[in-house]
Symmetry: C2
Subunit: 291 residues, 2 copies
Amino acid sequence: MKKALSFDIGGTKIYYTVIDENGEVISEIKKESTPKTLEGILEILKNGISENKDVDAIAIATAGTVNNENTGVNGSTGNLPEGYHTIDFQSLSDKKVYLENDANAAAWAEHIIGSSKGCQNSVMLTLGTGVGGGIILNNKLYKGKSGGAGEMHFKMYPDKRRKCTCGSYDCFEAYASGTGLKWTAEEISGNKEITTYDVIDGLKVGCPEMTKIFNTWQNHIIQGIIGLANIFDPDCFVLSGSMAQFVDVQKIEEVVNEEIVTSPTSVRLGSAGNYSGMIGAALLAIESIGE
Amino acid sequence: MKKALSFDIGGTKIYYTVIDENGEVISEIKKESTPKTLEGILEILKNGISENKDVDAIAIATAGTVNNENTGVNGSTGNLPEGYHTIDFQSLSDKKVYLENDANAAAWAEHIIGSSKGCQNSVMLTLGTGVGGGIILNNKLYKGKSGGAGEMHFKMYPDKRRKCTCGSYDCFEAYASGTGLKWTAEEISGNKEITTYDVIDGLKVGCPEMTKIFNTWQNHIIQGIIGLANIFDPDCFVLSGSMAQFVDVQKIEEVVNEEIVTSPTSVRLGSAGNYSGMIGAALLAIESIGE
């Protein structure tokens, strides 16, 4: 059975472990804080690789847009050190080193072993601090002309209200993310100190104001999914990430199916787990080396 | 050289002509008003087919969602007579009868002989009374699970302002179409009698109010394209339809490329002409019969 050493390189943490061709995690999961320097990141990668020689490929799920050759990232990448896009990842090993964007990799894991298994066309949304997206079309990861497809930066308003992390305004991410929930809470309550925990706790005990805030946030998610459903006519949507546990998936599916012009779709929570990025990258890396 | 008899069945007119495998129109273009009954539509189809026996396939570009077998439309379809989706189109001829949605067919014509030729991934928007969409991914028409993909009914606002023809609210179509321009003009001018001609004429002579209305409309188009560019990372966008002639394509491309997180894309006017739906359907029909 083939296996890959798989890394997940995010803005705050780097994880790595060994994953087999069935998507099973078969070694201890190591965790490090993301270093502030390129050298620090390279050291973690090198140490991981030298600790795990008995693998067939090296997989890297990473923040940032991964090119269509799956060898590196395009341009600068949010919280990762400057120059990250200049790393020659393949030079770190004589085995195949295969990169994929973390949200794309997670969408692939859901497609192969998770809740979009069997769906030819699916859209995954990771609702966390930000919003990630991964699109599977005709059973393949859709990457676009330069690897950047699946960025959930479509507009919720056309008239510049909230500045998004991407530099533009009013993207889906700025409303449907955890950060978006905080901003919605600030706007509705007038309280700058309010947290997402306040909203979730208030929702649980039936507080009318917190319920209103939550529903406004969830409605933004619903309106975004309606648009994506009409554009992609997908078999299903997968919601994952730390904020997905709070949404009412059944309600979302119901409202979406009432509003779309395409045939009914399905909305599901992800089931590939917290390490879905590493799993999906490992599965892609193993697939890429063929027989 | 292979050729197809190609129909374009819309809510107000039906056209037909013969088109060869290069996408050239090689016979007179016939035009009829769309009958109010199924029988009337069938008669036009039958007459066209019996007048044009020397063809290799029958192509039909039609309003409505065409199924993935390209044999008929799913469910009821706007302005066409009730029961249109029950027509057994294949029974009309012993040659292959191949249907495609009109916007999809037009996108295919642009891809093969028009302004998105050479673009692996492209999104076409037809800006007319409504807005149509056709999506080419990896050099193939993307249809989704049931043929409905490419519906440009994603939201411009999440909070129910304008009712869209689709029954939902605030879709791109309700802002970026000719009808959308009229509604924007009514809102800004407060004049219910204002027409799109008033806006276009006023724009041409530099009237500040009409220019403001036009720019608001064009900004909705820009904001929609920004979202689609981030989602699809396409090589290009093609704008066609009767309203496309009025937009400032260069300006749109410039603003879009300033705002997107993916790599720069190109925005172009369609060049496959007014009969692009019939041409695209003919090319697809001829392709479907193979050698």
